[in-house]
Symmetry: C2
Subunit: 346 residues, 2 copies
């Protein structure tokens, strides 16, 4: 690994199984590799967000091995050369994925980001990273707390503790995905943020915490990386070793248990783009609230999201309908029910 | 033409432009050639309705020349050999189409039927033909009046006049497609039937009436048939002559004007299958009112009609929606609005 002292190393996690935005999103091409929110894919937007060479080193990508070619194509399309592309032989959730990156760059401060989220206000994001950086350099595990605008039940929450500095607080505790009543109570109480899965920390600080709270994961990942196969920027961790790691999220394995966990609250127009309803909310709609992409003929309709990558869709008199056509599949759901996409995804 | 004295000659009209059941129905394959209501096409069902050799001669088909191959295939699939297939070089509406058939069999009693209607009670139809036959043989133009069950605005109506015999009345007058108020008034008044476009008459009686009320049509069709090209059972009327005929319906050209027009009122489970809503009404639905055909995954939905001839359609939480996929086209409409299919048909 090249050393980039003083710079932050972006770590882009390309996980996810591609079920919530089916049929566009599939295991072969999950949503981060699709241009669902603009002309670039969310993976490209994530990489471009940390492209400033004055602040960031080239990124480390951690992805499923089956997506290696997609990653090459999508990074070169935006002129980005990664520091490393770590290709997981199978998915083992975020704690092992981040461990692989931390083992590749233990002395660097890592900015860990999911590749399938949208951030509208990148300036706000940049400022938040700056506020968190001194804490990360001092050994804190820093997380970013998204200012909630609704009692969402699909995210974990983080409760603020004591202030640590300008715009940085200690974490009182992590709260797993709540039911609706609990979510409403947290919003009413204030001081709670959504857990957006973005982290800033020294690689070694994470590895140390992993050694204390999840030593099996650390051991498996260390073996996988010391037996790894290298091919240019591509790193193939050893399959047998990596497969022996527990599949655990970073929140559950480390964050909920570690000392010196800080949070930077931010309001940055964040979305996890976790459903077709979220896509509709992000999309540019006409005066009647319709957002269409592809070969669509729509008349006398309102509040619809209609996207197709091939076949033509014609509709009239439709209200609040989601219609997504990809290849030989068409999905039709009422708006507000788009989580149902999952039941049809294979 | 072979003579079949004493038998009725079915005349099957294959017209229609294929717009109301788009995208399944297209100009290349209009709805009569599709199996939309069962395992056989409506064209086949129409031909089979008059297959009894004790009562009917082999049929005369009048169709657009572009459908010659479809007709061959669909008739041979049900083991039927037509007397003649008259292939119109272009559509000129029903008065000229029937004139071509009447010129081919002037001495026969013709039972003229559209090929794209459904008749559930074929016994009732057979009885009605029997009731009308003596009148047709005596030179009357006999029409069949469908007992109306709703104030439809998509059909012409026929007002009953004086009784002529058992189940046969004189026609008081023909009424063009009414507005809703007028349709309701006719239903309330009683004595009005829908004009189903089915006729029973001697060929010569029709030609005589045409000579009086629409001599231009008769002249054009006589020239077209005398200059026709014959190829086995196929008859190709002369294009130049036929194209000079006015394009007029039999109702407007003859029925509304002729003397000795009789009506046999019948209740026979008739549908003109004129929309996807009509298909839904005819289809076998599950307990929730959903009728599906093809590769469809439907959950928690009610009152839907979903048909596909290829691509898979998946839906959940849908109410009263019509979804039709054919080839590279998908049409989506609310139930009750299926006449909107027309606006998308090319």
């Amino acid at each position: 690994m090249k050393a980039h002292t003083g710079h932050v190393v972006p770590v882009i996690l390309s996980g996810g199984s591609g079920t919530r935005l089916w049929p566009m999103s599939t295991p072969e091409r999950p949503k981060q590799f699709l241009a669902l929110t603009g002309n670039e894919t969310m993976f490209q937007l994530t990489a471009a967000r940390t492209a400033d060479p004055a602040r960031f080193s080239p990124p480390i990508i951690v992805a499923n091995a089956r997506h290696a070619a997609l990653i090459d194509v999508q990074l070169s399309a935006i002129g980005m050369i990664p520091d490393a592309v770590i290709l997981e032989p199978m998915a083992r959730n975020s704690a092992p994925a981040i461990a692989l990156a931390a083992l590749a760059a233990p002395e660097s401060v890592l900015l860990v980001m999911p590749s399938d989220h949208v951030i509208a206000d990148t300036d706000a994001f940049g400022s938040a990273v700056s506020r968190g950086l001194p804490f990360a350099e001092a050994g804190w595990l820093v997380t970013f707390g998204i200012t909630p605008d609704a009692p969402e039940t699909g995210f974990g929450y983080i409760r603020s503790g004591d202030p640590l500095g300008e715009g940085v607080v200690a974490v009182d505790r992590f709260i797993e995905k709540p039911d609706h009543m609990r979510a409403e109570a947290m919003i009413a109480e204030g001081g709670h943020c959504w857990n957006g899965g973005i982290f800033l920390m020294r690689g070694q600080a994470y590895l140390d915490a992993l050694g204390i709270h999840a030593p099996e994961i650390l051991g498996a990942c260390e073996t996988a990386m010391s037996a790894a196969r290298f091919n240019g920027a591509k790193i193939h961790p050893d399959e047998g070793a990596f497969s022996s790691s527990p599949a655990t999220s970073i929140d559950y394995a480390v964050m909920e248990k570690a000392d010196r966990v800080a949070m930077v609250p931010i309001d940055m127009g964040w979305s996890d783009v976790g459903s077709w309803d979220a896509i509709h909310a992000l999309a540019e709609a006409d005066a009647a609230g319709n957002a269409v992409r592809g070969d669509v003929q729509l008349e006398d309709s309102s509040g619809c999201l209609i996207e197709t990558d091939g076949i033509r869709i014609s509709g009239a008199g439709l209200q609040d309908l989601i219609v997504i056509a990809s290849g030989n599949e068409v999905l039709i759901l009422p708006r507000g029910k788009s989580q149902e996409a999952r039941r049809f995804a294979k």
